[in-house]
């Protein structure tokens, strides 16, 4: 019975209500969470569903952010074009990088994804003409929301919000759509083949699965969605900076994914929410957030390998079994 409750829908509706009931700060946090949720879920397509651990996923996040940033700020392309371009460029990069990466296994795969991400970072860091170099590109313009304001004249609830809030609604809608897509993908036959690869690549080969091709496809999809998340983040963050592609970003999103649980679909989203909220809370008390994060991670690794969602899911399963027997 617990499973039939449409949790995802409830959370979505609640998320839409945040600007109405909460302060600007809460909208800001919610926007942050929503974007990172997409980023983390895209990574989980690789880690949790295909069994490929990437240390360089932030490369595609960064590429997406810079693509949208450059297009919107330097060339004045509207959001409607600049945003999908983020996903497209990130996907192209993932195609090129991925075709080399999937030839390797395990630690070598991880190292190569890291190397490519650092290359992306180095380019962003040094290519002053295009990317603004070390300073990055501050002040990416918000998309033009005038049409929404206009629509708000005769549609209820649509008018009268601040730009940041319009952007939050946009992010939320986009991320919800992307997560819906990803959900469909992992439940599809293609997704099942990815899971087979994760479980036993050799066996998967011998049921007709061209493992390399599937892994590349997963890599490209994951990169595309990470790029879309990056595109949103560049605008949200009011600026695009080289550290978007730095390996510590990759580590951050990997931790979020693990924290939430790599074996459930919404685990990484949960991890994103928990980590961001925790970060905000703790940073107000102490500057030693890494210490806290590291400790949490250690506790997680030793005591709760399934992550939050995994542990909760297991607890639910036990609970429902007990209820069923009663």
């Amino acid at each position: 019975m617990i499973r039939r409750v449409p949790w995802a829908l409830i959370v979505l509706v609640a998320a839409f209500l945040v600007p109405a009931v909460g302060s600007r700060y809460y909208t800001f946090l919610a926007n942050d969470i929503v974007i990172w949720a997409l980023f983390a879920t895209s990574l989980n397509l690789l880690v949790g569903y295909t069994g490929l651990v990437s240390f360089g996923h932030a490369a595609y996040f960064g590429i997406g952010a810079y693509t949208t940033g450059v297009l919107m700020k330097k060339i004045g392309v509207p959001f409607l074009l600049a945003f999908p371009a983020a996903g497209l460029f990130a996907a192209l990069a993932a195609l090129v990088f991925g075709s080399f990466c999937v030839r390797l296994t395990r630690i070598y795969f991880a190292m190569l994804t890291l190397a490519f991400a650092q290359i992306v970072w180095a380019i962003c860091f040094k290519w002053n003409e295009v990317t603004g170099g070390e300073q990055g590109m501050p002040e990416i313009p918000y998309p033009d929301f005038a049409w929404l304001e206009a629509a708000g004249q005769w549609l209820p609830l649509v008018g009268g919000w601040r730009t940041a809030e319009y952007f939050y609604f946009t992010s939320l809608a986009i991320v919800a759509a992307c997560l819906w897509c990803l959900r469909r993908i992992v439940a599809s036959p293609f997704g099942r083949m990815l899971t087979a690869i994760r479980e036993n690549p050799e066996r998967a080969e011998f049921i007709g699965v061209n493992v390399r091709r599937y892994e590349l496809a997963a890599f490209v999809l994951a990169g595309a969605f990470a790029g879309l998340a990056g595109g949103l983040f560049g605008i949200f963050n009011r600026g695009v900076f080289p550290d978007f592609a730095y390996w510590s970003k990759s580590a951050e999103v990997l931790i979020m994914t693990l924290l939430g649980g790599i074996h459930t679909f919404f685990g990484p989203s949960v991890g994103a929410a928990v980590l961001i909220l925790l970060n905000q809370q703790i940073v107000s008390y102490t500057q030693y957030w890494p210490l806290i994060l590291g400790t949490i991670l250690v506790v997680l690794l030793f005591a709760f390998p399934g992550g939050i969602a995994g542990t909760l899911a297991a607890a639910f399963v036990r609970l429902t079994r007990r209820l069923a027997r009663a």
Binding site: S188, P189, M193
Partner: protein
């Protein structure tokens, strides 16, 4: 059906498989036997494309398939089970076989639709045929050894093969389990008109159902033919009796 000629593979200086040739006619039940380390699994890996041969050819139904990638080979009607447990451990028994159907029937790239609703009837039927229908919902990795072997058979059969390559199908089984497993395999081979090639080092099993036997020792073929002839071959007796001491 399957013709192997001159297959060879070396690892460093060690000749694992040395100029091996044999053929398996359609509908036959053939076995490759030999003591441990004789190169049986390596030979299988060469035939199925998991390893690249240094020399030799593999011809399937008149078509040269030497070195073809495993994922292409299994679409040509070859099914295989592995010596080590080779299933999808965290998926359920049902999902294991279902995945094989999904891949084999060409739906593996479809990003629409739900994987768990495809080929349910076929999967159930197959699970029934291999005797695992009661365990359909269980997690594959938690099955008993014998159960996992049955599952492997199910996965291989889901590929609708014409020839089945079984690598030590009764490894690690008790005498009773072995009898059951062999009976199941023989029955399925009859029902589905399968050609069967398997490796074993349990002699009783081999002599009970095999029609043609190839004996491997240190990577080379030392005898081949009908069971009775092989049983009486002095070289074979030396190798096996020598081994037992």
């Amino acid at each position: 059906m399957l013709e192997v000629s001159g297959l060879a593979k070396s690892f460093g200086g060690f000749k694992a498989v040395d100029d091996v040739s044999f053929d398996v006619p359609r509908g036959a039940i053939a076995a490759i036997i030999g003591p441990n380390g004789a190169g049986k699994t390596t030979l299988f890996n060469l035939v199925t494309g998991h390893l690249r041969a240094d020399a030799g050819r593999v011809v399937l139904k008149g078509r040269d398939v030497t070195g073809i990638a495993p994922h292409d080979l299994c679409r040509l009607g070859v099914g295989r089970s592995f010596q080590r447990q080779n299933i999808f451990p965290r998926l359920s028994v049902f999902e294991n076989v279902q995945a094989a159907f999904v891949s084999h029937r060409g739906r593996g790239w479809s990003r629409f639709g739900r994987a768990d609703r495809l080929y349910c009837e076929e999967t159930s039927a197959l699970l029934h045929a291999v005797g695992l229908d009661e365990k359909a919902g269980e997690i594959a990795g938690l099955l008993s050894h014998g159960g996992q072997k049955q599952l492997e058979l199910g996965i291989a059969l889901a590929l609708e093969p014409e020839i089945l390559l079984l690598d030590e199908p009764t490894a690690g089984m008790s005498a009773g389990e072995t009898r059951e497993a062999i009976a199941l395999i023989a029955r399925l081979a009859r029902e589905r008109n399968l050609t069967l090639l398997f490796t074993e080092h349990d002699m009783q099993v081999v002599f009970s159902i095999a029609q043609r036997i190839t004996v491997l020792h240190q990577g080379r073929v030392i005898a081949a033919g009908a069971p009775e002839a092989v049983r009486r071959d002095p070289e074979v007796r030396r190798v096996y009796l020598g081994e037992r001491n």
